[in-house]
């Protein structure tokens, strides 16, 4: 806990006297927080950076759907924090339990405290397990969400492997906003890929709490081509919203009836990680309103929120967005600490999905602050073309894999 000792010392001795560099605390070592910590250290200004993250290793969600389909090892999703330490970042293995924005101090779950000049909060999401009656923490052990990768991913994979041919797999998808908008549909595709090869009499049902979804026409085109008759999507208007589950019998109830699953993947509604509400930076929606130039909380100055936890306007909750926001936020924080005025950023998102191992599709967008929100730059972005050749789909699948390798290298390598 060396970081805590220096943090306490920095509080006791005013910075002006000690000539110490400013201190930025980053809470959460996922794609957002780890990118921000690194970017702060690498952009040249003399800033002391502490990364607060309880887990010794990070489990990445992108490509975890390929793990479910048996196309990839869960080990390929693990990343450590040694790269951060090599960069001179103080990595503190603890959870933040409270943040006092006014006193610029945060408390950790071991009871100690940490002083900061600015704080970057990147806690990701909290899954609202109790929002679906009958689900809860015990329901998630039977009908895994696998929406935070790790043991849940392994559990859902084991269930799919153990299922008899002819079983019904149900994916319950949440309403917007949620982490990774194309994620449930990529998951349906790759699970279908597995079923087609190993359990061809099985069916996959998507019960959806919304009437449309990301890259919808592209996914539907791919399902028609690759898995005809295997995947059925039930929209909100046709009774797709799951209102209750019974874990004991793996039954999912909707307004229109009920479905008994052999394997059920329930993806519950989400909100910003719990520390956001504790710090007072989440609003009634459960997410964090931010300034679109600096990512500083609109509710608590001195705290910047990035990644899935933030309300980033038109930007989707993705690892690519989290990384792009982190780098823009780090630049703004460095400028603010130097007494400057941060310039308006431009951000990019590119999200790939696999409909099959050699069939990639993408959505891209360019974003800039407009009327206080991150808005899409008109005329840019959009999705892959419909009716594209197999070569185009294969090259996008290869780009997807290169992207994962590059971004995890930049963030954790």
């Amino acid at each position: 806990m060396a970081g805590l000792a220096t943090g306490a010392a920095a509080l006791a001795a005013p910075r002006v006297l000690a000539q110490a560099p400013p201190h930025v605390a980053v809470v959460g070592g996922g794609f957002a927080g780890a990118s921000a910590a690194r970017a702060l250290k690498r952009q040249g200004a003399d800033i002391r950076v502490t990364l607060v993250e309880p887990k010794a290793r990070y489990t990445a969600c992108p490509f975890s759907n390929a793990v479910l389909a048996g196309l990839r090892d869960l080990d390929a999703q693990y990343f450590g924090y040694d790269g951060m330490k090599r960069d001179g970042i103080d990595v503190v293995a603890a959870s933040a339990t409270a943040i006092d924005a006014e006193a610029r101090r945060l408390r950790l779950d071991d009871g100690s405290g940490l002083a900061f000049d600015r704080l970057i909060l990147a806690p990701g999401i909290d899954l609202m397990l109790d929002a679906i009656p009958g689900y809860g923490a015990s329901g998630a052990e039977v009908m895994p969400h696998a929406w935070q990768a790790g043991e849940q991913t392994a559990l859902l994979r084991r269930q799919l492997e153990a299922m008899d041919d002819g079983g019904l797999v149900v994916i319950a998808a949440p309403a917007n906003p949620f982490r990774c908008p194309p994620g449930p549909y990529e998951r349906a595709s790759l699970v279908a890929h597995y079923l087609k090869a190993h359990k061809p009499r099985s069916k996959l049902l998507i019960l959806d709490a919304k009437d449309s979804f990301s890259k919808q026409r592209l996914f539907e085109e791919a399902w028609e081509q690759l898995y005809p008759g295997l995947i059925e999507w039930v929209s909100l208007s046709f009774g797709g919203r799951v209102t209750e589950v019974d874990a004991a019998t793996k039954t999912l109830t909707t307004e229109f009836g009920s479905h008994q699953a052999a394997v059920a993947n329930v993806i519950p509604p989400q909100r910003a990680g719990a520390i956001a509400a504790a710090a007072g930076v989440a609003d009634r929606t459960g997410w964090c309103p931010i300034d679109s130039v600096t990512f500083e909380s609109r509710l608590r100055p001195g705290i910047h929120v990035i990644g899935d936890a933030a309300i980033a306007g038109a930007m989707p909750k993705s690892a690519f967005s989290a990384n792009a926001q982190a780098k823009a936020c780090a630049a703004a924080v460095a400028t603010l600490l130097a007494g400057g005025q941060p310039a308006a950023p431009k951000l990019i998102n590119t999200c790939y999905s696999l409909a099959a191992p050699d069939y990639g599709i993408s959505i891209a967008g360019v974003y800039e602050p407009r009327e206080g929100l991150l808005a899409e730059v008109a005329g840019a972005g959009g999705v892959s073309p419909l009716d594209a050749s197999a070569d185009v789909r294969a090259s996008e699948a290869a780009y997807a894999e290169a992207w994962f390798d590059t971004i995890t290298g930049e963030v954790f390598g």
Partner: protein, 105 residues
């Protein structure tokens, strides 16, 4: 290598920055401040030396990067995503990004 980099920075009118940058103990791994709007997002896909099918940008002259962005934008150069991304940047913005990348490590 370092002198070429400095010359490029000066050409971009960033002489002061170059001096600061050279003075930094870890100059090798740091890009000059401040990055123009959009510039830091590129490395999400483009590793400095490239990765598989995605080309690296390190060491490329600014003009080459700016020309590529223009060709992606007006459809002269076929692409899967760069056409969609390039349309989000004006010529000036793309040139500023290209100069920043070319000046980097």
């Amino acid at each position: 290598m370092a002198t070429t980099r400095h010359r490029r920075l000066m050409r971009g009118g960033l002489a002061l920055l170059a001096a600061l940058w050279a003075a930094s103990p870890h100059a090798a791994q740091r890009a000059p401040l401040p990055a123009p709007a959009g510039a830091t997002a590129c490395s999400g896909c483009h590793a400095p030396a490239g990765n598989g099918p995605v080309p690296g940008l390190a060491g490329r002259p600014a003009a080459e990067i700016a020309d590529a962005m223009a060709a992606f934008r007006n459809g002269e150069r076929p692409a899967t995503v760069m056409d969609r991304i390039a349309k989000g940047f004006s010529d000036e913005e793309a040139r500023a990004i290209a100069e920043w990348i070319a000046a980097g490590p």
